[in-house]
């Protein structure tokens, strides 16, 4: 019965895939229409950064990135509201902890490098934040229960930092009469860098906290359960 069901589903999905392939081929045959890239490249000198992807993320489509940071925040709030964190792993042995001592600073350093280089070469806030989060994962794997994160008050500030700085910059440009998140040209580079720095910290903290997998406080209170 189950086998039959999976075969039927397979047949339907094969038909769907063939249809999608046909659609793709027809679309490609119609040739390249106008695309947004030319506009993106044309506006690049006004943004103060020369990496087009960073320009799209933080200048042209700033709203998108702001809402994305909101999604990250919402996901972490969901994780925190679902339960307390499980206890960490047992402390690492000599070799692993020696490696961690070497790797974590390197990850943080590389994260900072990627953040800075994102203005004109591949890199940027997401990659840098991911490296910071990875540093937290490594520390938790080596037995640090909090994944290297600071206390709960500081953690709360850090995870809202990305959205907060983004919105503050948006409101400031609004107050200057430029419109929400449309930066004055002379300041553009530094505003983007400020937003990216805050976003990096927020993304790194959020990802590490998501790996911890539960709210870090009230450990002692609820710990009586087991």
């Amino acid at each position: 019965m189950r086998r039959a069901a999976s075969l039927i589903i397979g047949a339907i999905i094969t038909a769907l895939a063939l249809w999608l392939l046909w659609v793709l081929q027809t679309a490609l045959d119609m040739g390249a229409g106008p695309r947004l890239a030319e506009q993106a490249f044309a506006g690049l000198p006004t943004t103060g950064v020369s990496n087009p992807v960073t320009a799209v993320l933080l200048s042209y489509r700033g709203y998108d990135t702001l809402l994305e940071l909101g999604v990250l925040l919402a996901a972490l709030l969901g994780i925190w509201s679902l339960g307390v964190a499980s206890p960490g792993f047992q402390p690492a042995g000599v070799v692993l902890s020696g490696m961690v001592r070497l790797v974590v600073p390197l990850l943080v350093l590389t994260g900072g490098y990627l953040l800075w280089v994102g203005g004109y070469a591949p890199g940027g806030a997401f990659q840098a934040g991911a490296l910071l989060g990875a540093a937290g994962v490594v520390m938790r794997l080596a037995g640090d229960e909090t994944a290297g994160l600071p206390g709960i008050r500081a953690q709360r500030w850090l995870i809202v930092a990305g959205v907060a700085v983004f919105v503050l910059v948006g409101l400031a440009t609004l107050a200057l009469g430029q419109g929400f998140l449309s930066y004055p040209q002379a300041w553009s580079k530094w505003l983007i860098l400020a937003i990216e720095t805050a976003a990096t910290v927020a993304i790194g903290t959020t990802l590490a906290a998501a790996y911890v997998g539960g709210r870090p406080w009230s450990h002692a209170v609820v710990g009586g359960r087991d």
Partner: protein, 96 residues
């Protein structure tokens, strides 16, 4: 000649990508499936580097394969432990 070579290169990239995806999806052991998924993510990053999208390749390698894989590995480990505990004694279930 070089166009043909490039096509072979592309074919190898794509076929390996799809092979890794299938292996990750049908592997009977969940932990192995997660590891294959990480390999899939890293290979995908390689393919995206070939498609001249280095920013996205970096993000996929670090976030998609790295952190996503770490999250799933933790869950797979937990599931495996749960299974072992359930198998041994039903009464002494929970430990975390």
């Amino acid at each position: 000649m070089s166009a043909g070579l490039l096509l072979i290169f592309d074919l190898v990239l794509v076929v390996t990508l799809i092979g890794l995806a299938i292996a990750a999806l049908v592997s009977p052991d969940v932990r192995r499936a997660v590891m294959l998924f990480i390999a899939f993510g890293l290979w995908l990053a390689l393919v995206w580097a070939r498609l001249r999208a280095p920013d996205v390749a970096l993000a996929e390698a670090a976030i998609g394969a790295g952190l996503g894989g770490a999250l799933m590995l933790a869950a797979a480990r937990r599931a495996a432990r749960q299974e072992a505990v359930d198998g041994q004694t039903d009464a002494r279930g929970e430990e975390g």
